[in-house]
C-alpha cells in the first residue's frame, strides 16, 4: 500500500529527491522539495515539504519535514511540523514532535511524543511520556 502511494507521488512531482535501496547518504542532507528514502541515511535529513521513508530504509539521523509518512526504521528524533503518519512496519527510536499524528497498529515507537499543533500549542502542548510507549507496540 505504501509503495503504491509512493510511486504515485513520484509521477506527480517534478523535482524530487529519491534515495533508493543501494545508496547511502552521509552528512546533513537538506532539500526544498519532496524526498523519498528507501536507502540508508546517516546524519540529518531536512525538507520543507513531504518526506516518505520506505520499508527498506535505514535512517540513523534526526529528521525534519513538513509532512512525513514512515514505513521503515528511524534511529533519531523525528519532527513533522504539519502531519506524521506511521505505518504498521515503521520503527522509531527517538523523540517525535508533530501537529497531527496517525499511527497504524503494529508501529513501534520508543521515545517521547510531543504534539505541537495550533490547538495543543494553545494548551501548552501535549506530551506523552517515554514510559507510556517504551518497548511496546502501539495497537
Amino acid at each position: 500500500m505504501f509503495k503504491k502511494e509512493a510511486h504515485m507521488a513520484h509521477s506527480a512531482q517534478g523535482s524530487e529527491t529519491i534515495i533508493a535501496q543501494g545508496v547511502k547518504v552521509e552528512g546533513d542532507f537538506s532539500s526544498d522539495g519532496n524526498v523519498l528514502i528507501d536507502g540508508e541515511v546517516v546524519g540529518s535529513i531536512k525538507t520543507a515539504q513531504n518526506l516518505q521513508i520506505g520499508q527498506t530504509a535505514r535512517i540513523h539521523a534526526s529528521v525534519t519535514a513538513a509532512t512525513a509518512l514512515i514505513a521503515g526504521e528511524i534511529l533519531g528524533d523525528l519532527e513533522a511540523t504539519e502531519r506524521l503518519e506511521l505505518t504498521a512496519t515503521s520503527k522509531v527510536r527517538g523523540n517525535i514532535t508533530t501537529a497531527v499524528l496517525s499511527v497504524e497498529p503494529g508501529a513501534e515507537i520508543n521515545g517521547t511524543i510531543t504534539m505541537s499543533g495550533p490547538e495543543s500549542s494553545k494548551r501548552g502542548g501535549r506530551r506523552a511520556s517515554t514510559e507510556e510507549y517504551s518497548e511496546e507496540q502501539v495497537g
Binding site: 517534478g14 523535482s15 529519491i18 533508493a20 545508496v23 552528512g27 546533513d28 522539495g33 528507501d38
Partner: protein
C-alpha cells in the same frame, strides 16, 4: 546570417555527397543558404567559429553529428548566436532529442526557426549538453558544498542528466541518477534495479583512484570532477518532435 559547419567525416565520405547536394539546394530554396566552413584535422573548430561570429554570423548550423556539436558549444554558449543541426550519418542522439530529422529534412525545421534557450552543464570547465555517464560507479558524490556525500552500496551506474527524454533542459537543474542492482529484501528475493534521483546545481564526483566518465560521449579521466550548470545559456533550434520536456 547563417554559417554551415561541415565536419570532415562528411567531406571525406562519398556516400554523403548526394545528400549534401540536396541539402545545399534546399537551403537555397528556403532562402537560408550561407557561408560554408569546413572542419579539418588541424583546424581549430572553436577559432573558426569565433572568427565567423566576429564577421557577424547569427546562426551556426552544424552539418555532422554529436561530436561536431561538442566542438561548438564552448564558444556558442553565452553568446546570442543560435545553434542549428543538420544531422548526417551515425552518432546523432542529440539531434534526435531536439527533434531534428536526418539530412535534407532538417532544412525545413531550420527554416521554421523555433529557437529555445537551454541549460548547459559544465564539468571541470568543459561544457556539455546531454549529460554525463559513469557505467561502473564506485566514486562518491559530494553535494551542497560538502555538507553530505552519497555512495553506492551495491553495483551501480551514475548518470548526470541535462537534456534527456524525461528531463527539462530549461529548468536550471541537473539530475544525478544512480541505478543500483540490489536483492529484494524478502525470502528468495530476486535482483532488481532501483533508481535514486538527486536534483542539484553543483556537485563533485571524486575517488581515490582515477576513474573515467563520458561527458556528451567524450571520455574524461581523473580523480575529481566538479559539475555545475549555466542556466539558459545556449540558443538552439528545435523541431516539433523534440523529445524533452520544457
Amino acid at each position: 546570417m547563417y554559417c554551415y559547419l561541415y565536419d570532415d567525416y562528411i567531406q571525406e565520405n562519398k556516400r554523403f555527397e548526394k545528400e549534401l547536394l540536396k541539402i545545399e539546394n534546399r537551403l537555397t530554396d528556403l532562402g537560408i543558404a550561407g557561408k560554408i566552413s569546413r572542419l579539418a584535422l588541424f583546424r581549430n573548430a572553436e577559432e573558426m567559429i569565433r572568427d565567423e561570429i566576429d564577421r557577424g554570423v547569427e546562426t551556426v548550423v552544424v552539418v555532422g553529428n554529436d561530436e561536431t556539436v561538442r566542438k561548438t558549444i564552448n564558444v556558442l554558449s553565452d553568446t546570442n548566436v543560435v545553434l542549428g543541426i543538420i544531422p548526417i550519418g551515425p552518432n546523432n542522439e542529440l539531434a534526435k532529442k531536439l527533434g531534428m530529422p536526418e539530412g535534407v529534412l532538417a532544412c525545413d525545421v531550420l527554416s521554421a526557426r523555433r529557437v529555445e534557450e537551454i541549460d548547459v552543464g559544465t564539468i571541470n570547465g568543459r561544457k556539455f549538453i546531454t549529460g554525463i555517464r559513469i557505467p561502473d560507479f564506485k566514486a562518491e558524490l559530494m553535494a551542497d558544498d560538502g555538507k553530505f556525500r552519497i555512495t553506492a552500496t551495491s553495483k551501480s551506474s551514475l548518470e548526470i542528466r541535462n537534456l534527456q527524454e524525461d528531463s527539462d533542459p530549461t529548468d536550471g537543474i541537473l539530475h544525478a541518477v544512480i541505478q543500483s542492482q540490489v536483492r529484494e529484501q524478502k525470502l528468495f528475493g530476486r535482483m532488481i534495479t532501483t533508481q535514486s534521483i538527486l536534483p542539484f546545481t553543483s556537485l563533485a564526483i571524486r575517488a581515490d583512484k582515477p576513474f573515467s566518465l563520458l561527458a556528451d560521449g567524450l571520455v574524461m579521466e581523473g580523480t575529481r570532477f566538479d559539475i555545475g550548470i549555466e542556466p539558459k545559456t545556449l540558443k538552439i533550434i528545435t523541431g516539433k518532435e523534440r523529445m524533452f520536456q520544457a
